[in-house]
Symmetry: C2
Subunit: 480 residues, 2 copies
């Protein structure tokens, strides 16, 4: 039963591979590069995460839809910048049965083009706007780099993509703000720390006017992009000729936005909260919140009945609870089993608990144990779950916050990225050339600058590359 | 606003195309043959149907999972009968970016082969069995026949497929029975009438030992297959070498089953309950159960406030309710609008209702109207929704039940299929040759025989083709 595991603290990437597999969250042994299987426990976690996102979108007037997986080559090629970027990555369906298709079909890498084609049919008048839709689907990208489970995939199977259309730039940019607020709330609820950056020109979404991205930091100090919001302007509406009739009787192009998240959110959730023992899941999102382990000696019917009573009570209260009454393994093995799976709270019930009319609560995050009387345990249990959420959150943020540095010369940047890890902010003139040179010099990636940048903080600073007046403190990191 | 519509009663197939599009359930204008878009209202209906199915599966110990869309050619070719049938229909991905793939990948037409490959990794011992999993995914079949929205697709986007593995035939066949009971309950809840048949040898699922199918009857008298359950025996486990260790220490092949439904269920739901005015949705599954239409003359704030009060009350009670307070269209246009969309109950609130402290309820199924006092309307409303469900159900079953016929000669069969429509039962010797000849002679399809066939009923009957002793009353119909 006891499997040796790599450590979260010293070898994160192996830990991640091991733990998602051993905990039954994700099985990467499926024989297609960059595609994996979600087994039952992982699927339940995934459903909880998706449902949280859906709730936030539904509450803000988004409507769920579903578009086809296949996009005709002609459609996907309509927006020039879009196809220029994606053509390297598109999987093409060229045959049906034993025949060649007369027109080849793309497996969607993202759905802007499919959706614009229908927006053209759906949008006639200003009264049809705004449109705010989303779907959760598989998208496909033929990654040439090494793939990594849940993080760099060829089939991204949990792509939540929202697409909106508006009357003008102002309304579309209001939508960008709403999207940012939705994502903020979403990551807050998952207790995942993040920074929000305006991506540099050379790293924006293909076809966007600008891209705003959410990054978190993995335990190895590399950043992970976990959400993006794009203002697409009229780039797609012009390519697809999507206009609306204004109240004045003229026709105008709609302004569109899109924003997405993927299973990387779950990778982040696992990575930022985990420890050497396995997953640590925030109670709010955990598929199993509580596990009850009866400590039985032989045929201890009374302990088992007492455990069942607690189980039924918690189930009726709406907790996601499991009673582990397996006979073929020891309580110690059960602890190990459920700790690996990140169940936030364990209830141990032994003969002493029975005798004293108590239960023993053990926290997954701190391993602290406390015995409470059966009479009052419900209140303590609820408080403990809330405390676990807070502790898990604070721990993640504390770790995150010390990983930000400022630097004014390349040597220092290099040293931080190599040794101390994390994100470095450096002064930058705003020139793409300097940004690209910076990436090359430090073997890092420019994440962009803070969306709420304090302009005065950059006053007097000089670009780390060319020495001219700096425009931004720009973020640099190694990234996934 | 008033669009002319084809009639359910006289031209079903055009009615179906028109009504799903105009009601916002399905948009078939997407430019890929056999692929369509689910707009918001259709998506909500679809989610309600899927959630009902998920609930029934979860309650019976099934676990949701998610497998990749892509299946390597090598895997999908492992079971000989399976690939022999599906190779005509598989879409192949042959290129990634600008490169040819070294191994081409199939878009899954169904997932037995992908799942068996993982079962091989997941199943070791008898204690790992049974496994009961399901997923809701897109599957792809390169239909060469004419496609039809929701009914004959190249991308089936609501494929619920369950897959199970068991220790022996007996346990696997128990699972087949459980699957049949789940589907029965599912169709009962949707008030869709059905028959259950054991499909003939030549029409079973590719790789199955036998196939049991659910068929309903469309308004044009053609049957629609809406669910199938397959006992796969050890055909797949042998092809994929999936064995388990018995308590006795030997290795045995697992016995597997699979069972599926698709968006055809929604097509059936719409078809069997609809009328010349549009959709008629059973209240239990309708995305919108109640629409409130205030009848206002000018700035009638009081009627509007009264309507809002009713709206809030119903919303809080958990009803899926809409208040249609649009100013630019008349109440009559609203009636038309919501009748088309099949909302089971309309509440009209005019000045007289306000004055008399009443509301007027109008049923979608019978168009009967009744005024009830505001004080007691909640009880009447709940009763009315239940009555609508019963009426809709009875109406569908009554129509269905008169469409079954028995015949003993081909001329009669032909006449029924051509004129009276529906399903004909004929005596059959059990020989494939006679079955295939029967299909040819009457330009129909053999659906199979009743799973609960009364053997004595066929005694003394002679095969309609060869005249030998009959084994079964076999069902023949024209089908989708």
């Amino acid at each position: 039963m006891q499997e040796r595991r790599t450590k979260w603290s010293t070898n994160f990437s192996e830990w991640f591979r091991d733990v998602i597999f051993q905990a039954g969250v994700y099985d990467y042994r499926y024989p297609v590069k960059g595609a994996g299987v979600w087994p039952p426990l992982g699927m339940r976690l995934r459903n909880n995460v998706i449902n949280l996102m859906k709730r936030l979108l539904d509450e803000t007037g988004h409507e769920e839809v579903l578009f086809p997986t296949l996009i005709p080559e002609e459609l996907i090629g309509k927006e020039a910048e879009h196809i220029a970027k994606f053509e390297e990555e598109i999987f093409w369906v060229t045959r049906g049965g034993k025949e060649s298709l007369s027109h080849r079909l793309a497996l969607r890498p993202t759905s802007e083009t499919a959706i614009m084609e229908m927006f053209k049919l759906w949008i006639h008048s200003h009264t049809d706007l705004p449109i705010k839709i989303y779907q959760v689907v598989s998208v496909f990208r033929c990654e040439t780099k090494a793939t990594a489970p849940m993080i760099r995939l060829r089939e991204i199977s949990m792509f939540k993509e929202a697409h909106t259309a508006h009357r003008n730039r102002e309304e579309a940019e209001e939508q960008v703000k709403e999207a940012i607020n939705i994502y903020k709330e979403f990551f807050e609820r998952l207790a995942i720390p993040f920074i929000i950056s305006i991506r540099p020109e050379w790293d924006k979404f293909a076809g966007a006017v600008y891209t705003i991205a959410f990054d978190t930091l993995m335990p190895d100090g590399k950043t992970l992009q976990i959400g993006t919001v794009h203002y697409l302007g009229t780039n797609f509406s012009k390519a697809f000729d999507v206009t609306y009739l204004t109240p004045q009787g003229t026709h105008e192009y709609v302004h569109t936005t899109s924003y997405g998240i993927s299973e990387r959110v779950i990778a982040a959730l696992i990575a930022v909260h985990g420890d050497d023992h396995g997953l640590v899941l925030p109670p709010f999102i955990a598929p199993i919140q509580i596990v009850i382990v009866p400590i039985m000696y032989g045929e201890d019917v009374e302990v088992l009945n007492y455990s069942k009573e607690v189980f039924e009570e918690l189930r009726k209260k709406g907790y996601r609870v499991v009673l582990d009454d397996r006979r073929d393994i020891t309580p110690g093995e059960k602890y190990y089993y459920w700790e690996l799976r990140g169940v936030p709270l364990r209830i141990e019930i032994g003969p002493r608990d029975l005798k004293q009319k108590e239960v023993t609560l053990v926290r997954r995050d701190t391993f602290k144990r406390v015995s409470v009387s059966k009479e009052s345990y419900l209140k303590v249990l609820e408080e403990t779950l809330n405390k676990i959420h807070c502790t898990v959150r604070e721990r993640a943020y504390a770790w995150f916050n010390i990983k930000f540095h400022k630097a004014r010369n390349l040597k220092e940047v290099w040293e931080i990225l190599e040794e101390r890890k994390g994100v470095v902010e450096v002064p930058w003139c705003g020139n793409d050339e300097c940004g690209l040179k910076l990436e090359e010099e430090v073997k890092g990636n420019v994440l962009g600058y803070d969306i709420n940048e304090d302009k005065s903080a950059v006053k007097g600073e000089k670009c780390i590359i060319c020495g001219k007046d700096a425009e931004h403190w720009i973020r640099v990191a190694r990234r996934y």
